[in-house]
């Protein structure tokens, strides 16, 4: 029995059974590995994707609940906000190991879509669910501010 998902604007047929987290559909079935597994319990944010524009933990989102939804992953990020965020990440060399950064970037883009000029407190609140063991938080915050400025300008 197949299902159809809309991922990065494309319709994709998948075979995953009900109860399978979107994370594993993306990573193992579709081999779209930019979305990462970090905890499996929606506690670290490494698996963050956007579902209908909202940042969502794909490890606790199940394949059967996605009918009619639009899934966006790091591979499908596009548009001025996303580009400003990715460029700011590169300009400030935010990354260290890099493993959490897909999720960080998805959360940051979602934040800026909702709040184009976030305060430090807005950033802390929006990004608290995305853990970074390398502790790149200070640069993430600076990069979000830079992207906000650029998108504005």
């Amino acid at each position: 029995m197949g299902r159809k998902l809309t991922i990065n604007g494309e319709e994709r047929a998948v075979t995953a059974e009900a109860g399978t987290p979107l994370l594993w559909v993306l990573r193992d079935e579709l081999q779209m590995t930019g979305t990462k597994f970090g905890c499996g319990v929606a506690s670290c944010g490494a698996c963050t994707v956007m579902i209908d524009g909202w940042p969502t933990r794909s490890c606790q989102t199940f394949v059967e609940d996605l009918e009619g939804s639009e899934v966006t992953t790091i591979e499908g990020l596009s548009g001025p906000t996303a580009e400003a965020v990715q460029q700011a990440w590169r300009d400030l060399d935010v990354v260290q190991c890099g493993y959490c950064q897909s999720g960080q970037i998805m959360s940051a883009v979602a934040l800026l879509n909702e709040t184009p000029q976030p305060s430090d407190a807005d950033i802390d609140a929006a990004m608290a669910g995305n853990a970074c063991r390398c502790a790149t938080y200070q640069r993430i915050r600076a990069a979000i501010h830079q992207a906000a400025t650029k998108a504005e300008g």
Binding site: R27, D28, Q31, T33, Q96, C97, D124, R139, R141
Partner: protein, 727 residues
Amino acid sequence: MTLITSRRGFLAASGTALGAGAVLTVGFSTKGLLAAGTQDVVFNPFVSIAEDGTVTVVVKHFEMGQGTSTGLPTLVAEELDADWDQIAVTFAPSDNARYANLAFGAQGTGGSTAIANSFMQYRQAGAAARAVLVEAAAKTWGLDPAEISVEKGVISGGGKSAGLGDFALAASSLTPPQEPLLKSPEAFTLIGKADLPRKDSRAKTDGSAIFATDLHLPGMVTAVILRAPRFGATLTSFDASGAEGQSGYLGAQALTTGTGVAVFGKDTWSAIQARQAITAEWDFSQAENRDTAQILADHQALLENPQFQTRAEADQQTSEAALAGAAQVVEAEFHFPNLAHTPMEPLCCVIAPTDQGVKIYDGAQFQAITHPTVAAVLGLPPSAVEIETVYAGGSFGRRATPNSDYQAEAAMAFALLGRKTPVKLAWTREDDLTGGYYRPLAVHRAKIGLDGEGAIAGWDHRLAVKPILKGTPFESMLVHNGIDHSSIEGLSDTFYGLPAFSVGLSDGESQVPVLWWRAVGHTHTAYAMEVSLDMAAEAGGQDPVDLRLALLQGEDKDRQRLRGVLQLAAKAADWGTPLPEGKGRGIAVHKSFGSYVAIVAEVARDGDEVAIERIVCAVDCGLAVNPDVIKAQMEGGIGYGISAALREEITLAGGEVEQLNFPDYEILRMGTIGTIEVHIQPSTEAPTGVGEPGLPPSAPALANAIRAAGGPRITVLPMTKSGLFFS
């Protein structure tokens, strides 16, 4: 892919191994390579240049975020005078002969040594390649080599110019100098450049960077391991009937070591689901069955009669005599919990069959251990094993176990399946947190005698901690007279001029596997030392900076450099200027892995709630090769150290680990630390470590700041145990 092909070609083409101490094999024939159809010309084990001008640097250290895939290429590019944008990076294959860490004599990454041991080697590699390119250009153009210049990848002379790639082939037949001329530091354009971009930023911001967990090989099966719930338990039986019929379940078999059951699935999710349906019986007779409280009490008891006196300068009798005559005695007992590394990428590697044996794809930290370990598990000659190093999603030491624990599991699982199927060995976060290899639990007790003026007159320091290095291949190097260096580093060898300072060490005993955890022994020794000193300063009515400066007097180079960072941090942090009620500053300074770091923390306290407002760090790591990477490593080391100090703790109940996932093991999040400023001490000394040295002084600086803000003196970690909350 051409880059990887060229590397293989190079290995096939080069016949001789490097001798010990030799750093270059330059100028061997590349005919075989060229016959294979690749355009790249390999100049030595570290550099190849393609006709299109792409310079590929072979990086012998893995990249776990610490910046080696930027740092080592910086050294080559500098001496080659390449343009930074023409530099590509590939990771070295496992080969001790060519790619040993010169600090270890074996291939591996650790001890914050990557830049330090590669500094001359990679510069020489770049300079040797440059020399033959210049010679080739001079010959072609009929000029003297002295008339040729190279800048940003352009070779110029006599009114002509060409790219590096244009002379790669001609240069490959020339013999490079054995000791190529290196630049003097004033001529550096890339080394020390403040904004040199990282090489891994792009791939790590568009989802294309490949970690071991991202690999999907044709026909690959995923294995997860059902491990014993207590350390030291062994499998007696298991029942997999519950998993039969589950989607994607491919079977389960006991590991030959008796340490668990390998559960196979067609993909990660099906393997994880199947494991949940499998039950096992274990023999706990030899297992760790205690609670953490009991293990702690057993460590405390060991303080009464230390096994080893670790300082030649003073033993316990000396310090006890000094304490007997002291005007006052300051006492503290410090408790340090087991800590998990929890790299964001749960441990994972892939093992696949090859024509001659196997290949392991791994964020490989200690290739020199993993290579023979996998060969031994599979009964293969080492020549039949290859390792391809891929990006590691963090490590902090966890990927470098002395027994290559997870790679050995992968090899066992691969063998159980008949050695024909590629196997991905995946850990979950629960496996990671409950799987051991922690920073050891440690207990310290300090008794410090002060004289009538408040100066330190004697110090009886004791600690009990499970040794990390005993029983490992590193024992012969780092355990002397029974004393495990990792237990006492940063304490027994302190640079402070402490009179009658003795250190008594006892080896803690438990079945809990312990391991180096970012900054190793310094994670607890620096805390005990720097908080004890603050207590002595408080009791003696001295300023904490003045007290430290007084103990670091003299021309000794280590003391000078410690004073340097202490003063730099104090000045940058406005040390001594008044703060409003409820705020406080704390300082700590420590040398580890060759580098000197001082940290000032500034906090605001409101009752039990503490806000970490500002961290100021000063680092002296010798010549700063990549200043921005150094800053990033200080930020990261401080964040990792403070994360652990605030809330991290692994505890056992009846031998079973109580923390299963991040909700139980709380790591640092965005917003907890206000700002971190890093100041780099200018230096012309040889470069030293940066991955770890930021960590040791971070937590004690914070503890001292909390005390200065009127809070409790924190001697038990994590700090939340003192009833504090951190906003």
